[in-house]
Symmetry: C2
Subunit: 78 residues, 2 copies
């Protein structure tokens, strides 16, 4: 993964707890955080493509939503 | 989306910038954050299933990685 992650671990840990996990290993929190980070870059890149397609320099929510509508499914890799 | 998001906006904004976006609307950052949050819950839920399948109460990185190997693609909805 990337050397310097952006997404903090604490929110990911809280999400696990809110999803109903009794005990969550720290490695699990890191693993999910790293996957989310990878997906974030993937979707950000595709959103940038979308805005270029619309001849805009500012990325908008419409660009992000258009990505979701078009790809429907984010590929994962471990 | 959920009423009380966990993932902060600032890391998502930095990811957009690192991905090469010149200008990013606040609505775009919120949209991507909300999508990541939704994916996080989805993967957390599936990871919990994985640990139950292995008769464990503690979620591990292996549970998270097994989810990724098995589903290969996270479905999205707007």
């Amino acid at each position: 993964m990337l050397a310097m992650p952006e997404i903090p671990l604490a929110p990911v840990d809280r999400i696990f707890k809110k999803a109903g996990a009794e005990r969550v290993g720290e490695d699990a929190v890191q693993a999910l955080r790293d996957i989310l980070e990878s997906i974030a870059y993937d979707l950000a890149n595709r959103s940038i493509e979308m805005s270029k397609h619309a001849n805009r320099k500012t990325i908008t929510a419409e660009d992000v939503r258009a990505v979701v509508r078009i790809i429907r499914c984010v590929p994962l890799s471990v």
